[in-house]
């Protein structure tokens, strides 16, 4: 039974609730591919985006429309002029009168949880500052489930593991599936100790490494994230680090046959375009899976 009124943070999810979303997504995939549906006919979703986003906003919109629902869009331009005039809580109280579900992206951490207190309809957190982005985690899990397997998966999380909070919530969720996790990052961007110890408490096997080369042969999933230039005061240092975590054909010489490579996109140069042609590349498939997963969340929240 799915009893959530809102989708705010992965912290609120039990494993069985995650499974429910993933199973829902599987059933809805055919509609994401274009089959007609009127599952959410008569329902209205409002996109309330106080920060620019294309992928997340469009995939929500696609999910809603393909299930026969309608979408109201408040873009970042409009939203920012609103936010000068009134509080988010007032905006949410007003907009929730016009829709059945509200999708919120906001620069302040905790914005979605606050919005849920003022909204008369369910709120989905589509990213709050450096905070949570639970629908991204769910679609990552779904991609792993569909293209590889979740239980006991051997996965490397690569890149900025210190500030990348979506990596943290993905790691938490994976721990619930007894994943073997390789945390691969430069020394300066290692996963914080408290998170690592939480992961171990949850039963995950956690192995830290600074070298992608050392671990790549033992992986089912290679999850690559961006290392941001701003994290490095020295541009030369940044260049060296970024290069050493770049996924190229060379790296993939002795990997497992079924290895999948994921990336939340957009990529800059973390993955060489040459890799796109290999059967390992699943990042565009991952972008597609955003739609059935968001469909599943919408139907779970709006279904009667």
């Amino acid at each position: 039974m799915f009893t959530k009124k809102n989708i705010l943070s992965m912290r609120d999810f039990s494993r069985s609730e995650i499974d429910l979303v993933l199973e829902g997504a599987e059933k809805l995939e055919k509609y994401a591919l274009g089959k007609k549906s009127d599952l959410l006919q008569g329902k209205i979703m409002a996109n309330l985006f106080f920060e620019p986003s294309t992928r997340t906003r469009l995939s929500f919109e696609s999910a809603m429309k393909r299930l026969g629902g309608e979408v109201l869009n408040l873009g970042s331009q409009e939203a920012s002029s609103i936010s000068k005039g009134e509080t988010l809580s007032d905006t949410v109280r007003v907009i929730s009168n016009y829709c059945d579900v509200l999708v919120l992206r906001h620069p302040k951490e905790g914005a979605a949880r606050m919005a849920a207190q003022f909204s008369s309809v369910p709120v989905i957190n589509a990213g709050d500052g450096a905070g949570h982005h639970p629908t991204q985690t769910l679609l990552d899990l779904y991609t792993i489930k569909r293209e590889s397997f979740l239980d006991g998966v051997s996965i490397a999380l690569v890149g900025d593991l210190k500030y990348g909070r979506t990596v943290h919530s993905l790691a938490y969720a994976l721990a619930m599936y007894d994943a073997k996790m390789f945390l691969v990052s430069p020394e300066q961007l290692k996963m914080p100790d408290d998170i690592k110890s939480d992961l171990k408490d949850l039963g995950a096997e956690v192995i830290e490494s600074t070298s992608l080369n050392d671990v790549v042969k033992d992986l089912d999933v290679l999850y690559v994230t961006r290392i941001q230039r701003e994290r490095f005061p020295d541009p030369e240092e940044y260049g060296k680090v970024a290069d050493s975590y770049c996924v190229s054909l060379d790296l993939l010489n002795d990997v497992r046959k079924n290895l999948i490579i994921m990336h939340p996109l957009p990529r800059v140069n973390e993955i060489d375009v040459e890799v796109d042609k290999t059967p390992h590349a699943k990042y565009f498939k991952q972008a597609f899976y955003a739609v059935p997963v968001r469909m599943a969340l919408l139907t779970l929240l709006l279904g009667d």
Partner: protein, 154 residues
């Protein structure tokens, strides 16, 4: 000798005893008891004590503080005891208990937290760990550790 109190006996009211030395004024701050309130208040600081090296004591006349009112001082005075005085006698005594949730007393250390904006919500925290004491922001999940008096809203 027991009768020879450092502060004169009160007829009715509340004695907050065993406050960590130096924290008496912060206790009053958390309880929002200021000079502006009419109550007669006595404060004794750095009083020698049997159990702890020294302690602070606060006595509030003619006011019986309910436990949900005072429990929040456990943030900075975890060993404090609350004594309710009637007719010069202690008629009720209990230790402060760390609340599972704290609302409106401390503010979030994360400058980018929604509770630190003009939004009409008061900061709220959930007990995360008892030793060492940690509270988690209900909104942004930031964990607060250390000296909680630094986080008390002014």
């Amino acid at each position: 000798m027991e009768r020879e109190l450092r502060i004169k006996s009160i007829h009715n009211g509340t004695v907050i005893d065993h406050i960590r030395a130096g924290q008496a004024l912060n206790v009053l701050k958390i309880l929002r008891i200021t000079g502006a309130s009419k109550a007669v208040i006595s404060v004794a600081m750095n009083v020698p004590s049997k159990n702890i090296t020294s302690k602070d004591i606060v006595k509030i006349e003619d006011r019986e503080l309910a436990s949900d009112e005072v429990d929040k001082i456990a943030l900075i005075a975890p060993n404090a005891t609350i004594n309710i005085i009637r007719g010069y006698e202690v008629i009720e005594k209990h230790k402060v208990q760390l609340p599972d949730e704290i609302e409106g007393i401390i503010k979030c250390a994360n400058p980018n937290c929604i509770s630190n904006t003009k939004e009409p919500v008061s900061p709220k925290f959930v007990l995360h760990e008892v030793d060492p004491l940690q509270f988690r922001c209900f909104y942004c999940d930031r964990i607060l550790v250390g000296d909680f008096i630094d986080y008390v809203k002014t």
